[in-house]
């Protein structure tokens, strides 16, 4: 799945792009309006910058945390974001205000769940039994909070496998569609778009299951079904190909918002060696420490 997976769209000269660039292009569409734009995966983070650079200058980026990078320009993605973002940052804030913004719906987030199930429930806490997990992940964090405050949640699953897309999540950090949601009268935190390395999906609002919205270039429905731990909803007719990133998007990603190539951390190369390589390159690229102070 590494390297080139398709051909860039739009008017400009065609060119190849990676699946991470495809994902960034898709996710950039969810960030609009006077909101804080947050991406919990590297690609989603870069997507917030792409949105700000090309489509929605009004969004607020929070590169590097709630303080030094708050409301900064569409600066290049780094491993140490504050150092790059702070010089253009307009305001310092804190975590209490961030949750007030979430409560006010002034927030758009793409999460990176470890498990998503057919109804759209998601999990980043544990694999196996919570009392004695097979794998202790990171804890529920803010997903239960966002779920009762935001209209809709977006998901990015880096690697589409039967262990990531499961029949039922081991621990519910966010609740999907279905009878339980209806009984609770929960109308917020609806599972929205799911983007993986294979395609773009959404969930049936009655909990019937996962629907393919589009397949990335070169991916077949059968391939996606084989990589999914439950039966996908049958497509009605021919499935569209995910619109490829435009030339302008690719140029922006590569030259402006991710010249370092941090997006590779969401790809198959991810690991200590790549992180070390990026950290080394970052030092050269941005001349840390930094700008304002």
């Amino acid at each position: 799945m590494s390297g080139a997976v398709g051909t860039a769209g739009a008017a400009g000269a065609a060119g190849e792009f990676t699946v991470e660039e495809q994902v960034i292009s898709v996710l950039a569409q969810i960030y609009r309006g006077q909101v804080i734009a947050v991406g919990a995966t590297v690609c989603a983070d870069i997507a917030t910058r792409l949105a700000k650079a090309l489509y929605a200058p009004e969004i607020v980026l929070m590169a590097g945390g709630s303080m030094a990078g708050y409301d900064c320009a569409a600066t290049p993605k780094a491993l140490n974001d504050e150092w790059v973002a702070s010089p253009s940052s307009v305001r310092g804030s804190d975590w209490i205000e961030t949750f007030d913004l979430i409560s006010a719906g002034k927030y758009a987030i793409c999460m990176g769940p470890v498990q998503v199930d057919r109804t759209g429930s998601c999990n980043i806490s544990v694999l196996g039994d919570w009392r004695r997990p097979k794998v202790a992940l990171i804890g529920a964090r803010g997903i239960p909070d966002d779920m009762v405050r935001l209209e809709e949640l977006t998901f990015h699953v880096r690697r589409h496998t039967p262990r990531a897309l499961v029949e039922k999540v081991d621990f519910r950090c966010g609740l999907g569609f279905g009878p339980e949601r209806d009984e609770l009268g929960l109308t917020l935190g609806r599972p929205g778009m799911l983007v993986t390395d294979l395609g773009v999906f959404d969930f049936d609002e009655h909990g019937a299951g996962l629907r393919v919205r589009s397949l990335h270039a070169g991916v077949s429905f059968e391939q996606v079904q084989a990589a999914t731990g439950f039966e996908l909803l049958a497509p009605s007719g021919k499935l569209p190909v995910t619109p490829p990133p435009t030339e302008a998007e690719l140029a922006c990603i590569r030259d402006e918002i991710d010249p370092l190539g941090v997006r590779r951390l969401d790809g198959p190369e991810a690991g200590p060696a790549l992180l070390a390589e990026l950290a080394e390159r970052e030092r050269e690229l941005f001349a840390i420490p930094g700008a304002r102070r």
């Binding site: 209490i96 804890g139 239960p144 009762v148 950090c173």
Partner: protein, 270 residues
């Protein structure tokens, strides 16, 4: 009015069974030297940390944690926390898993000196379905709608690492403050290590640049690079090489002991 203490004086003040919290979040501004000194003092404590990283990992690896409250434990881009994994996966560690907003609400309850805070979080998710959690669904006394009551979080001891502090205990944090300013209000005793001590804050800056008032601070120590490899904006970007080495080896008890001993006793590098 000097509140300058040594790291040893701070750590010695913590009795067994105390509820201890650390500032910072994930791989940022963790008071690692203080954590190492505490771990080396062999004082079993209860931990409550908003966003844990190598601080929680080191304490768990040292075997000095009686229980753990958290909303997150992880190494951010460097992956999961090995000693958190082992402690959780062995099933022996009593834990309370908070959500971020619930943890914040618990700290706010403590800062306001009320026993609980109401929040909308917890509806429809499994954090309220696990054994031993301290939360309760209740009807709003004014509107009747169902909310979640979270208890106040009142650490006995809080350790923070900061950019700088003055000898009177005023503290300046230039990067993300996480919950540190609020935890300082919620905690009984607040110890701050700082990359540098100055005579008085704010230096040539406006009063908006001082993050925490001396009224909340018990003691300060000058400890350049007291956050070890974690990031302190703007003086120390995250040292990915050292962090990677920690992540690779911290599961080895011998390695971790040597690492902590070195961190706890290192002379301030001037």
């Amino acid at each position: 009015m000097s509140k300058v203490l040594s790291l040893g004086e701070m750590v010695t003040a913590v009795p067994p069974g105390a509820l201890v919290s650390f500032g910072g979040g994930g791989m940022a501004r963790k008071p690692m030297a203080a954590v190492a000194a505490l771990a080396m003092s062999h004082t079993p404590v209860r931990l409550s940390v908003f966003l844990g990283g190598p601080d929680v990992d080191l304490m768990l690896g040292a075997g000095e944690v009686q229980s753990l409250d958290f909303a997150y434990v992880g190494f951010d881009l460097l992956g999961l926390s090995p000693n958190f994994r082992r402690a959780r996966e062995s099933g022996g560690l009593p834990v309370v898993e908070w959500t971020e907003a619930m943890y914040i609400a618990g700290v706010e309850a403590a800062t306001h000196h009320v026993p609980f805070m109401p929040t909308r979080s917890g509806l429809g998710v499994d954090v309220l379905e696990v054994p031993g959690h301290p939360f309760r669904r209740f009807p709003c006394p004014l509107t009747g709608e169902t909310l979640t009551a979270v208890p106040a979080i009142r650490p006995d001891f809080l350790f923070i690492h900061a950019t700088e502090a003055d000898r009177a205990g005023n503290v300046r944090i230039t990067g993300d403050g996480f919950l540190d300013p609020y935890l300082a209000r919620a905690s009984g005793t607040v110890f701050v290590t700082a990359d540098r001590l100055v005579d008085q804050l704010p230096p040539d800056l406006s009063e908006h640049e001082t993050t925490i008032s001396r009224l909340w601070v018990t003691g300060v120590a000058e400890l350049p690079r007291g956050a070890a490899f974690t990031a302190v904006f703007p003086q120390w970007p995250l040292d990915y090489a050292a962090a990677g080495e920690y992540a690779a080896h911290c599961g080895d008890a011998g390695w971790l002991r040597d690492y902590a001993a070195g961190l706890a006793t290192a002379e301030p590098a001037r």
